[in-house]
Symmetry: C2
Subunit: 332 residues, 2 copies
């Protein structure tokens, strides 16, 4: 069951029972626009502020996933959820009404991988029939948290990514649509990047480290996967990841898929390096990738979202931006 240094291979693999994706208008107008369960036209989602708007996205995603599965909140033994905001308030206030025993997580944009890993470990260990994994991000709450007031209309360098407005929810259980056959849990990697407008560069080393650990632990290579899926490295981070892996002897050019690159069309949507945020990988997995795994169009992918571990305080104090990456094997 314990596999190599950082991985688990499940003897009785848990399944993704059902899943849902809720996105904002811009995501709905992007290349994956026809994949999502709900496109929210109102950026406030009927809420008085951006943070509560993000909470509302989480709640809708969870409720939609439960509805699709024909399950109730009380059927969920544990909730694993997190987001990008300080003290994960999007999750606390979004999930409050569901009244599920909750483990709050913070893994920055890797949280979809972290929550799926812990849900899978919990179900496979027999601790739960069902777990619910929920993550979110919102463009406006993230800009307010990490960058500048939107009213400044600050110019963004070409290495920046655009935080996805969206939430993905996943029910993990003993039977279902897509198998979770293993996980590889990441270590923090710090290459000394200090540019918060270049998150791809900060996170690429963590992605490279987790994927190398994964290949070693499982005795696999890129050829064993239909896709190797990162969360939000973007165009800049992708180049770095491919370079780092070439140095380790792996060519990922054909197999690599980045949710951040897929979700927006930079030419028409002006998003620069791509999409980002906890919601980016979560909604791309729920909206685009899981249906393909369910149908068999994809047989096996390695889903490995990365997170940039900074706060405005650490950034302003001159600290670097370590990255982390949590991987999950998903199979038809």
């Amino acid at each position: 069951m314990i596999t190599g240094k950082q991985s688990i291979s499940f003897e009785n693999p848990p399944y993704i029972v059902n899943y849902a994706s809720i996105v904002g208008q811009k995501e709905g107008e992007g290349p994956l626009g026809n994949c999502f369960d709900v496109i929210e036209e109102d950026p406030m989602v009927g809420s008085p502020n951006w943070e509560q708007a993000e909470s509302a996205l989480q709640k809708k995603a969870a409720e939609t996933a439960l509805q699709k599965a024909g399950l109730k909140p009380k059927d969920m033994r544990y909730l694993f959820s997190g987001d990008l905001l300080g003290q994960i308030i999007a999750s606390s206030f979004g999930m409050l009404d569901l009244q599920i025993p909750m483990f709050g997580l913070y893994g920055a944009c890797s949280t979809a991988g972290e929550s799926l890993s812990l849900s899978a470990m919990t179900v496979a260990a027999g601790y739960a029939d069902y777990c619910l994994a929920v993550t979110s991000s919102h463009f406006a709450s993230a800009e307010k948290q990490f960058r500048y007031p939107l009213e400044y209309a600050s110019q963004r360098p070409l290495s920046t990514t655009w935080t996805v407005t969206g939430s993905g929810a996943f029910i993990v259980g003993k039977q279902g649509k897509v198998k979770i056959t293993g996980v590889t849990t990441g270590k923090m990697m710090d290459y000394g990047v200090k540019d918060s407008m270049n998150m791809g560069a900060a996170m690429a080393p963590a992605a490279a480290d987790t994927i190398c650990a994964h290949f070693k632990d499982f005795g696999r290579g890129p050829e064993d996967y239909d896709l190797i899926v990162t969360g939000d490295l973007g165009v800049v981070g992708r180049e770095l990841l491919l370079d780092l892996l070439k140095q380790k002897g792996f060519d990922l050019t054909e197999k690599h898929f980045d949710c951040g690159i897929a979700i927006f069309d930079d030419i028409t949507q002006d998003t620069h390096s791509g999409g980002s945020g906890c919601g980016c990988s979560a909604v791309t997995l729920a909206g685009y990738l899981l249906p393909k795994l369910e149908s068999g169009e994809l047989k096996r992918i390695f889903f490995m979202p990365t997170g940039a571990l900074l706060s405005t305080v650490s950034f302003n104090e001159g600290q670097s931006i370590p990255g982390i990456c949590h991987g999950v094997i998903l199979e038809h």
Copy 2:
């Protein structure tokens, strides 16, 4: 193994292998001053700012626990850590050098319970020989995060608590000093409290809910425990907890122990309702309670730190302060 609605009873209980507590000067001068492994006289812990000081406390706590156990960071298969700061930067930067696969957590002041629960579940499931659970808080980084600049010397109402400067680290493994025989995982409870200077009131309902769920799941009552240990309800929160439990038919007056009340002497230390922060319950457990469990002076306790799920943003936007409480059964 699954017990009742919210609990797990471990068939092969994991153990706390070893543990360490690092505290600041004020905690060292308090009633438990002679219990801790290290008392740091320098509030900056040799660091350039409060956040890095807190990171340094975490690192020292982890290193001390590893040293006491005769183990190395590479022996730890997973790290579960968290703190109170936005984007848990005390944990990220404190634990970076240890290079252990990491699950970042946020449960506010309940994080010691959350990290011990997940560590115990992970070891008991056979996913790890050893897990490391680390949490921290620092008076100055918490005041900066949640309240006012220290230089303002703001008056504090009597219901406030004083954030403990300290970090506790726990190694969980298959053999060791103190058994973890079960966990009860909390739901978020919101009684509509909006006063961030009265965290005890915000968290008491969550403590009451978790303890009632625990008694029901295990068919136990206060008489089955030597102590029922909350983290940082303080004097105000304790009264509310005892009242809430009386309404449910439980008298906890004799069995209840609050780490926040124990760690400071309000008469001489002017801390008002008591101590608080992720570090409060962690260092009291590591410094004061675990040695008594190890010696057999205590046979069985229920350790159930509570967290207040607010941020400055949610507070300033007029949101209430939900609480959460994660319980762990510890036995000689």
